[in-house]
Structure formats: C-alpha cells, structure tokens
C-alpha cells in the first residue's frame, strides 16, 4: 500500500526526555534540534516537508506541564495545554479561549504558542500579547545555561531557547480584544491585551502587528499621563475627553499587509481595540 512515512535512512532522530533535566540536556545549545510541544504548529511543517530536522525533541512527557500558584505569582509549565488557561482571568483566559478550537487547544502547548515563528505572513503566538500585558517572565534553557528574563527579551531569542515555564503576578484587572472572522480556524488578524497591576500601572500589548507580540509603550504612556499611577481609579473623575483615543499605539508598531488583513485595515482597528481594552479595564475598576 502507499506509504507516507519518511524514508528510514534519513529519518529524524527522535528524543523523548522524561524529565526537565533530560530535556535541557537533549536541547543543548538548541542548534540543529526541533522542539515539538503539542505538534500543532510543527507537524504540518513536517508533513509538507518545509522542515526536515535531523533531531527532534518530543517534550510532552518531560513533566513540564502544570499551573502552580505562590500567593499571587502564577507559574505555567511550558507544555501546559492552552485549554488549561481558558478559565483564567483576562487577558490570558479570553485570549486562550479565542485560539482555534477545544481539540487543538488541548493538544497545543503554552510555550509552543509563545515560541511560534512568523509563519507565512499569518500571525500566530496570540498568547504573546496576553503574557506581555501581565509582565510575564520566562525561564528557559539553552546556550549559557538556565535563565529567567522578561518575555519581551525572550521573544526576540525565542527560537534559540527551550522555554521551561512562564511566570507572572496576577493583575488586578485585565482585558482582551481580538479582531478575527467568525470562524474557529481563522488566525487572529489583530489583538490587544491589557492588564493593570496592583500599583495601578497599565500595560498594553498587541499581536498581529508584524513580527511577534509587542508592548505598546506610547499607548501606555498616554494612559499614564492622564491617569497617574498613584491615583486610585475609582476616585478619578472621568469624562470622554480624558480617554486616550488609542492612536498613540500606532507609533509602537510597523503594520504589514498579509493574507489576513492589510496594514491600512490594521491601522484603523488597532486604536479601537486599545480603547476597548482600556474601557473594559476601567469598568472593572
């Protein structure tokens, strides 16, 4: 019968570490090894022959999954299925729920999503925005050993590192606003995540704005100006004129055309999503 299996003589060496230490050792410096989390991003690349690795790391049995709490600090293991995040508060919960469907979310891993490449002009890695907004740090292994660093620093090097866990302090409020078509399997064209930490600082981040998820410092600065951190939200008299219109966010991104949406369209929508996120967080004050 016809077979689709790989020619055994060039088959990839598959490693199945059974613990974090084994995974780190197998990953080494990350060169020449393909990391497989759930497989939802990587398997089609193998099937369509766009990836032909010499070594592959199957991570799911390395004990890297699970959500733990230490006070308000949440730590999520790298291979935790995305479905386990769905009930968490915004922005993370709604962001996770917006990804694909329940079957894919149950197979896909949090770190796999964070480490997604840019993928044929289609944005992936929706969770990057939500975790940037909550000020997450990533513990990873690779060249130079294990280290923990802010997610924004990790993202630029994500393809060279083995993510082990993601940690963040639970925000006091959060919101997620995504633009996508009403179909389970469309890629999110654009999404904004926001979170307000205990001291009142607002963090905003976006995905679908080219490359990978980014913070929106100009939009954050605009909010901070109008609503200084030290003031308790509940006591600040607000009128429509006080609200930022979200256009400052356009300074923080280089928008692009792709099959999902044009740069022009994204430029129209980004400020709207910023406003929605800010409004939703205000209303939960």
């Amino acid at each position: 019968m016809a077979t689709v299996s790989l020619d055994p003589s060039t088959a990839t060496e598959v490693l199945r570490p059974g613990s974090e230490q084994e995974a780190i050792a197998a990953f080494g410096d990350g060169k020449d090894v393909l990391v497989v989390g759930g497989g939802t991003i990587v398997m089609p690349e193998l099937t369509y022959r766009r990836l032909q690795p010499t070594r592959a790391l199957l991570l799911k049995d390395a004990g890297l999954a699970g959500v733990t709490r230490d006070g308000s600090r949440v730590t999520i293991g790298a291979t935790t299925p995305i479905e386990e995040l769905v009930g968490l508060p915004a922005p993370i919960g709604p962001c996770a729920a917006n990804i694909a469907d329940v079957e894919i979310r149950s197979q896909a891993t949090v770190a796999g999503n964070l480490c997604a490449g840019e993928g044929y002009e289609a944005p992936r890695g929706d969770l990057q925005g939500a975790f940037l907004a909550v000020g997450a740090t990533v513990r990873s292994a690779g060249e130079g050993g294990i280290r923990e660093e802010p997610l924004e620093d990790f993202l630029s090097k994500r393809r060279e590192r083995l993510a082990l866990s993601i940690s963040y302090d639970e925000p006091s409020a959060g919101a997620f606003a995504g633009l996508d078509r009403p179909h389970t399997h469309d890629f999110t064209a654009l999404a904004v995540s926001g979170a307000r930490s205990a001291d009142g600082t607002i963090r905003l981040a976006a995905t679908g704005v080219g490359g990978w998820g980014v913070r929106l410092p100009s939009a954050e600065a605009e909010v901070a100006e109008i609503h200084p951190r030290v003031i308790d939200w509940g006591h600040v008299p607000r009128s429509a004129g006080d609200d930022p219109d979200g256009t400052a966010a356009l300074q923080d991104v280089t928008l692009h055309d792709d099959a999902i949406a044009s740069a022009w369209y994204r430029a129209k929508v980004l400020p709207v999503l910023v406003r929605r996120v800010l409004t939703e967080m205000k209303e939960s004050a």
Partner: protein, 456 residues
C-alpha cells in the same frame, strides 16, 4: 411520483457512520506508488527546459511523465458541445497559470516522490500575466491564451454569447430613468473535505481500474479514453463515492495522468492532492464582472436591460462557454423584460481555470439580477416586493432565449416571502397570480413582446 416525498433512508447512511464507506483514499492495493506533481511556480511563463532524467534515475522512482507521454495531449472535454480543445493535459511550451502541472512522478513513498520532483530540471522564461478581466481588451494587454484574451467560438464563430430581443433603443429612449450597477462576485473554492484523489491499478488483462472521486463517471471515462487513445472497454472506472464535489470534481483532474503513470510503471499508483494544492491549484467557481443598465419607468416597469458580462475562465476554456450560455438565458431572472441587449464574454486570464460550481453561471446572474432589482426599487422609491411582483414572469411570458413560461412561480414565491417576513402587501399584490397578464398588468410595452401561450 414514487421517490419525491418518500422517506427513504440513505443507502450509505450506515456505512458513513461506521467508517465503512470506502472513499478513493481508503482503497488499499499492495504495491501502490505515491504521486507528486511538478507545478508551474509562475502565473505565465515559457518553458525553456524540461529534463526529468535525474528524477528518473532515483532509486524508488518508477515513472516520470511529461507531455511527451500523452497520446492525445489536447482534448476538449466539451467538444461535443462545440467547445474546441485548448488545454494540454501536461504543459508543453508554456505554463499559463500558477500550479499548472508540468510533470508527475510515481515513487515508493511520498517523500521520495517529492524529492524526485525537486530534481526535475526545469527552466522558465517569465511573461507578463493577465489577471484582471477588465484589462483583457486593452491594446497591449498580456496575451493569456494562444487565441487571444477571449473565447471566439460561440455559434457562427461569434466572440461572445449574444442575446437581442425586442427594441432596446426604444426602451432606453422611453425610460424615465436608467439605473446602472456593477456586480463582481469573487472566485469561490469548492473546498470539499475530501481533496482530489485517484488510484489506478493496471490489470494483467491490459485494462486499467480507475478509482475516481469524479462527480461525472461516464464523462471522465470518456476523457481518459480520449487522452489515452484507447477504447472505452479498456477502462473500468469505480466511482460514485465522493467526499464532496459541488462541481469541482468534474474536471477529470487526476484520472488521466494517474492512468499514464500506472501504464508506464506497471504498478498501481495513487495521487492525493494536499489541502494546499486544493486551495492553490484546483479549479474554482469563476469570478465575474457584470454590468447592468435598466431602462425603467417611474412607476416601476423595466422596459429594457443592457448587460455586459465578463466571465473569468482562467487560463483555459474548460466548461466556461457553457456556463456563460446558461448565464445568458437567465439574465432577466424571475422577471420579464421585453427588450434586451446581452453580451457575455469568456475571458482568459493567467489564473487557475475556473469550472462548474453549484448553479454554474446561474448563481452569479441571480445575485446580480436580484441586487439590481433592489437597486432599481431604491432609486425609484418603490417597495422592493412590489417592483418584483409587477415585473414578475407570468404564463405566456418568454425567457431571454425564447422559452415560453407555462407555470412560472415568481409571484407565489414572493408572496410567500412577504408573508413570512411580515411584509404587508397592498391588496392587488396580495391577490396577484401568475395568470397571463391583463388590464393594468399588461401595459403597451409588454403587449407586443409577450403573448398568450396559444400564440407560440
């Protein structure tokens, strides 16, 4: 009637729900080779070199075919309807759409087949591509097709499907206003859950057994026999089980080349398109460009219609002239318009050839006609239900191509819609029937063109 209205269980219902339905991809024949295609990466290019020797030399590759292996390279699938052949089974001198198949490989497994394709030595000379039907008629437009940019073989070698009825000049001279509209439905992917797939087994008897997902078994059989130049009794086509087609599995897209590979290798072969091939290279419902101008009176009579249709056939004719012909017959929709000027062109572009899809040619015109009726109603300030009822087909009216309506259902359908949406109709519209026109529903401008059934 014995079947309509009967409650009969699906004959394949039990098989579907137990996973026992055998689709083409489920057929298991030991020794089957996997097929992969070399496809044009360019929208439009001359093929200046094609050397398959390195692919053929690979261990595990059992056959490679190009245009040279095809006994009858160019065969018109609808030549019986007068549509001449224009499309080579495999590209010879040039590639006219991105994805056009140039060569195929049959190998021991999918990976080997793909590797062999990458070792085919092919060189191109890119040419300008035509992708917008509106530019097809410009001097200096890229030449998408060897016969020029539009089909020229309607009856009497006309270069368009043309319908003329009544006196269009009179209609436009006597109109109170002209209402224009442009309608451009986009291409649509059939996207069945089962992609194109075919399995061919060469039998010791010399026959070929072809497991096909075609929607048109006898039609495909004829196409294969013609390309292979073999009598029909050499082919045993096993079909009737399709994982969705919707008009996209009429093109006989896989059966002939798989037959050639099976014959050349002496082994069973299977070609299953990937979902990416399905999206990028399979034929679609055509995009259309339609322009309508209606000559209307202020009380809502449509005196005449001028229409121009540009149908995007893609790189080759396939069934497009037939689709445009059907389209032309329906360009007044469910309504009677006595004076008509219709011109429909089959335009070639350097895009994937388009094909049938549910309501081929008619779905597009229905969209345009209905939208336009609402536009006319809007311009005149007339209720959109009433304007439709006023101009509705009645017994004795004729279609654009002269068919006499003996029992048209426009009136009753619109009345039912009005009722179910809670739209109040004035009494004379509520009680209207499809009986031959009389009185106020038979104005002068309709008298000459429409008559009673006995007159025809």
């Amino acid at each position: 009637m014995k079947v309509v209205g009967a409650r009969i269980p699906r004959y394949d219902g039990v098989a579907h729900v137990t996973g026992r339905t055998t689709y083409v991809d489920d057929v298991r024949v030991p020794g089957t080779l996997w097929v992969k295609a070399l496809r044009s990466p360019h929208h439009h290019a001359g093929i200046t070199k094609l050397d398959t020797s390195k692919a053929e030399a690979m261990d595990g590759v059992h056959a490679v075919i190009t245009w040279q292996d095809v006994p009858l390279l160019v065969y018109g699938h609808l030549s019986a309807l007068g549509i001449p052949a224009d499309e080579p089974l495999l590209a010879k001198d040039d590639a006219r759409y991105m994805g056009q198949p140039i060569a195929l490989v049959a190998a021991e497994n999918e990976d080997l087949a793909a590797e062999a394709v990458s070792r085919i030595d092919v060189e191109f000379e890119e040419r300008p591509a035509l992708t917008d039907v509106r530019q097809a008629f410009d001097a200096g437009a890229p030449e998408a097709h060897h016969e020029g940019n539009w089909y020229k073989h309607f009856e009497d070698e006309m270069d368009r499907r043309q319908i003329r009825k009544g006196d269009i000049e009179w209609a436009f001279d006597n109109a109170d206003t002209i209402v224009q509209g442009v309608y451009r439905p986009a291409a649509i992917e059939h996207c069945p859950v089962e992609t194109q797939v075919c399995q061919v087994v060469p039998e010791p008897s010399g026959r070929l057994t072809i497991y096909s997902c075609t929607q048109a078994l006898y039609f495909s059989m004829g196409v294969v026999a013609a390309h292979l130049q073999v009598p029909l009794n050499k082919l045993k086509v096993v079909g009737g089980t399709t994982g969705g087609g919707f008009g996209g599995k009429n093109d006989t897209a896989t059966e002939t080349v798989c037959s050639l590979l099976a014959m050349k290798s002496g082994r069973p072969v299977k070609w299953r398109w990937t979902r990416e091939e399905e999206f990028l290279c399979s034929s679609t419902r055509a995009p259309w460009h339609m322009e309508i101008a209606d000559a209307v009176t202020k009380d809502g009579w449509i005196l005449g219609r001028k229409m121009l249709t540009l149908h995007d056939a893609g790189a080759y004719s396939r069934f497009s002239p037939y689709g445009v012909t059907k389209h032309s017959f329906h360009h007044t929709g469910a309504y009677t318009i006595p004076n008509l000027q219709f011109d429909g062109y089959v335009v070639y572009t350097n895009r994937v050839p388009t094909t049938s899809m549910r309501g081929f040619g008619v779905t597009s015109i229905s969209f345009a006609v209905e939208t336009h009726m609402s536009r006319v109603a809007d311009v005149l300030g007339i209720d959109p239900y009433e304007i439709r009822l006023k101009n509705a087909n009645r017994i004795g009216d004729t279609s654009p191509n002269g068919i006499v309506y003996t029992d048209p259902s426009t009136v009753s359908t619109i009345q039912v819609i009005a009722e179910s949406t809670g739209h109040e109709l004035p009494a004379e519209y509520r009680t209207m029937t499809n009986e031959p026109r009389e009185g106020e529903w038979r104005p002068e401008h309709l008298v000459a063109q429409v008559g009673n059934p006995e007159e025809h």
